[in-house]
Symmetry: C2
Subunit: 326 residues, 2 copies
């Protein structure tokens, strides 16, 4: 899977390749195939591996043990993939990283069970960590519960016109940002840093994660028009809350509602163009980008906690978030 790859510096690209190799080498039995074939399919399924890369970049900065970093990075990547497999069933998304999702390629039972299996394997990996094992396990499971809460808000907020900007921020903090916060936090834990440093690392990741999700919401409308056409359709139907829909509603609820009802009836490409036009005219896209900038700036402020020799690499990494196109 090539997406985003061209944005990576050689150092980050070589990390990504290392993580992909390690994912393919996770020691899994071959039987029952019903469980392990779809798990292997998911883990070989591309993805930018941003979360595991972040674990390594922060861990390297603090001199964490290489094996601990590898296990932590893989565990976080698996936790993320477990949530994707289950979320894709819930949201009826049939394509992920350019490949059929598990429930589409096999069936729903296979997807539920292999998602469960991926999460169990992530637990086995995180408990292999040798430094600060119990704090690492605790942070990992706390994050897992928060991600479930985030997905619950995401589902509960569907088609609800009362969702405010602060509801939205709560949802993305839990659904997306906390796990990215965990990546930075985890590397602080396994390199035995002070509580203050660990908290700052988490805050760095949290703000990076908020910016990441808002950017993702923007790309859902402003990305490559073919890709947007495929995913926006299902979002229109399910009435997902995104930064753009929430800001548009806060700008003018009545006008937005009637506009929204109207574009739902349009052919998808026309709907996208009308939608972009509306969001541009009302300066909503500008407001959304301001939030990306705001959270990126907050994230960068926390980078003072990173030893200066490694700060530049992490800044570069945060820029990937801002410049990615899908």
């Amino acid at each position: 899977m090539k997406q985003g790859t061209d944005l990576f510096s050689p150092q980050i690209e070589s990390l990504r390749a290392e993580i992909d190799r390690a994912l393919s080498k996770i020691d899994l039995p071959s039987h029952p195939e019903y469980l392990y074939t779809p798990i292997r399919y998911t883990l070989s399924g591309g993805g930018k591996r941003l979360r595991a890369i972040l674990v390594h970049l922060v861990g390297d900065a603090f001199g964490a043990d290489r094996e601990d970093m590898s296990n932590a990075g893989l565990a976080v990547e698996l936790l993320h993939n477990f949530t994707l497999v289950h979320d894709d069933i819930m949201d009826q998304d049939n394509i992920r990283h350019g490949k059929d999702t598990i429930h589409e390629k096999w069936d729903q039972s296979t997807a539920i069970l292999s998602g469960d299996g991926i999460y169990v394997v992530s637990q086995l990996l995180i408990s292999k960590i040798k430094t600060k094992t119990l704090p690492a396990i605790h942070a990992f499971n706390k994050a897992a519960l928060i991600v479930c809460e985030g997905q619950a808000y995401d589902k509960a907020f569907e088609n609800n016109n009362d969702i405010s900007l602060s509801d939205y921020f709560l949802m993305i903090e839990k659904k997306t940002a906390w796990l990215i916060g965990l990546c930075a936090e985890m590397s602080g834990i396994i390199s035995d840093q002070s509580e203050e440093t660990i908290n700052k690392l988490r805050l760095f990741g949290l703000n990076l994660g908020r910016a990441f999700q808002i950017q993702d919401d923007i790309l859902e409308v402003y990305g490559d028009i073919e890709t947007v056409g495929k995913s926006l359709g299902s979002d229109l139907i399910s009435g997902k809350q995104t930064i753009l829909t929430v800001l548009a509603r806060e700008d003018n609820q009545e006008e937005w509602s009637s506009f929204w009802e109207n574009i739902k009836k349009m052919e998808i490409q026309a709907a996208i163009l009308h939608l972009r036009d509306y969001l541009n005219r009302k300066n909503i896209i500008e407001k959304a980008y301001n939030y990306v900038e705001e959270f990126m700036s907050k994230a960068r402020n926390e980078l003072e906690v990173i030893p200066s020799s490694h700060r530049e690499t992490l800044k570069q990494f945060t820029n990937i978030i801002l410049t990615r196109v899908k």
Copy 2:
């Protein structure tokens, strides 16, 4: 939920009540309701709590710490409930412990997500154990993966006429028996017993679990006819492998196949009576009970590892398995 309750001695019944109280007191947030309301519903949903009771009975015998036993018992009970919530979606079962299953009462997304949440909470509980924390966590996660494998075999074996008795035994070992083995093993771990003792405890639980599942398969046909009517219908359609179908096929594949195709077309009560008659005539029910006895006897042999003062209570507990009627 009263089922099975009358079989318990006062000591075991009071344990069960204590476990129910502890389950209702697990510290869960109230929001998002989308996640936590169905989790609470599941945990208050009855069930015999056999697994947590077993943790306490074995733990008491070895003087394990009360809080550790409580956390281990709750964690195992939650792991079990997580698998039930997801299995019920996969098997399209709409009733569990006399109540609507989550996907029936809410919807499928709610059931997938709250199942995930229950498993995460079980992880948070198991990592609270103070004695031999890492071995306890490791045994717990290993068991979780084995249960997933068992469910995978269960799904993969559906409607497959090539499944042998040894395939069936592999499936029930993983699907049911290992988790019951874990309950006994876990109490050996948290009371810091030798590896030899822990292995014998696991073997005790494994054999008890095998007997339990075979007895369960028998009750699916020979239990209360109203209850059988409800669940057998879906099993007939999905072509689940049970001790009775596997033994019947091994007895006379051709005769059984044509009989089976025939009763599928019948009204359910008539199908049950014909099925019982066939299994009685062919001594299949007798063979199945012999396996229950064989595994119970193997389980009881391992009880020598339990201090004699507590052996009687555990024997009594194993008898519950044999005498339960649903």
